[in-house]
Symmetry: C2
Subunit: 397 residues, 2 copies
Amino acid sequence: MISEYMMGLGKKRSVIREIFEYGNKRKQEIGSENVFDFSLGNPSVPAPESVERAIRDILKQEESIVLHGYTSAQGDYKVRETIANYVNSTQNTKVVPEDIYMTVGAAASLTISIKAITLPGDEFITFTPFFPEYGVFVESAGAKLVTVASREEDFQVDFHRFQEAITPKTKAVIINSPNNPSGVVFSEETIQGICKILKEKQKEYGHDIYLISDEPYRELVYDDIKVPYLLHYYDNTFVCYSFSKSLSLPGERIGYIIVSNKMNQAKDVYAAVCGAGRALGYVCAPSLFQKVVARCIGQTADISVYKKNRDLLVDALTKFGFHCVKPDGAFYLFVKALEEDANAFCEKAKKYELLLVPGDDFGCKGYVRISYCVSTEQIQRAIPAFEKLAEEYCVKQ
Amino acid sequence: MISEYMMGLGKKRSVIREIFEYGNKRKQEIGSENVFDFSLGNPSVPAPESVERAIRDILKQEESIVLHGYTSAQGDYKVRETIANYVNSTQNTKVVPEDIYMTVGAAASLTISIKAITLPGDEFITFTPFFPEYGVFVESAGAKLVTVASREEDFQVDFHRFQEAITPKTKAVIINSPNNPSGVVFSEETIQGICKILKEKQKEYGHDIYLISDEPYRELVYDDIKVPYLLHYYDNTFVCYSFSKSLSLPGERIGYIIVSNKMNQAKDVYAAVCGAGRALGYVCAPSLFQKVVARCIGQTADISVYKKNRDLLVDALTKFGFHCVKPDGAFYLFVKALEEDANAFCEKAKKYELLLVPGDDFGCKGYVRISYCVSTEQIQRAIPAFEKLAEEYCVKQ
């Protein structure tokens, strides 16, 4: 009598959650310093001080009725203006506040964008490895997720496979760069290749194909790597952003959508975004945090820790004979398991108190995800455990 | 190529919004003190001081990573425990934290509950007058909203009409007491009547029919009126609550669902609620405000102002010959227009700078909604304008 599909979604304990809970149990048994939990993608560095200062200042300066009152459904106009100005000054774009729709975080940015454009029978394409909730969001809107295997050597797009996967039913392509779970940043060549193919296919089919850029990790990039800004490459683009990772505010649920003003029928699509937000029950994004992110725009938590962690881990794991594409961003490492079955590999890792996530749910068998958004100390303590794990497989060089 | 339905939802400027914007224009022309805007349901009293204190204390006491981090999808366990204890102590119920799912406000409580239980072809019933977004939420989940006309003399339920409206397709009944737009509180007799009929129909059809109690105005009641607590009357009940009105925090988007633990297959339904929240993109309710409402539980903004406003308005309007059911709660008055066409009536009211909302969208033609969540001073200044409006129709007694 109820939706079996929804019940299934609610009951299916995610693998990540199960590992996390196993870790908590284990920590009670042997002490938390002896368990090396790399399962969760929760920022490990505090929000920048400016966040707390902004909250205190706003409480002092703004009237309660206005501060905690409804904003317009699209979000406070001044907040959107601040974001537009920031994006324009850093990305050399021409975004206006009327292109921006404030959301309750990245997941909402995605569900709203997807709901706005989905018609029955539509297909969405994404590239492996990918964030598993894409499947949930796309299916829940009544469409189908089609996955395209990336090039194994660098997790960039295999253009041939991509071209093969596009059909007249393709409504949109979802990209996520820097990527969860691989940390890979799509090169400009990859972006140009995707966009070229999409433009040809739009022409061939005579209808729009959208590009949805899921970019909560935009600022988490290392070694002066540049993340190409999609608005410059493709007109039919939605930018789905969240402040969760850049400001270490994942629980506060605050982000935005930019509907490119160069999109075909941009105003109609923006209206559909407003309609989808309304239909899904998003009245407005949390009002205090709309104002907080506007005051903290352009700032980030201290992400230098993540780079340090990445370097430590990549160096050690490579030395021990593990293979991975060195990630340029986010806080994930996607490592080839030392046996075919990543689940069995993760079980063996547990013997050394290493909690890793098998890559199967991300669309890549034979890999594990290591979330290095942990203390550097945890990584240092875990390195001998990784060495022992490698020794068990006799692959030490 | 995009969803026309979503585009329509986004483009259809709500009547309320249009009136509000007309009001802003008019205020610039003749001064805000001369425009009597009764269009919006935005709380006019500030949040209680304890809200700001709670925010400051939490910022001082909690670590950033925990405070602004993800909570579990259902909400922070301690927060849910606090809410369960409060509900139990005030309503004499046996709610446990595992029955509670924290949400991003009342609209999210509704969309999630509806999505959790909806199967194709389902019908939802509600009683006129009703909050127009119910139609949007129900249709967006793929079901149909069926409306049952209430008794005109008191806006309580017409049991005969209700019984006629129930079919084997009826999945749930949505009630909203205190009601937006009438302010009417359903009597215990009404609640008992609804539940008796639903129990009979469940037996007759051999399947569950749910009751969804949308109660953001629960605490906004006057003259010691009691609002019957649905968990005592009907097992298959969802309580959809929001702190928007009680704590004057509508922009912060914080509320909860209680899935009655006496519900048939309660754990499955709760799982479906978790699944629906996930599918709609609600990762968790805003973490800071989860903790704020837990600290402020049981408190309210100074709602005595609303009672004063109601009494002033009801007394004056009745004297001038207007008819309305005296509202026991919320901050709305649903008044019979002085001509058949409520839209024409609202246009005439504008001549006296009175901004009222025609009742058509609420499912009741010939009525207007007056939101009295405004300053008492505005009401005092508006009374002569209502008198002149009544005189135009020559109904002054």
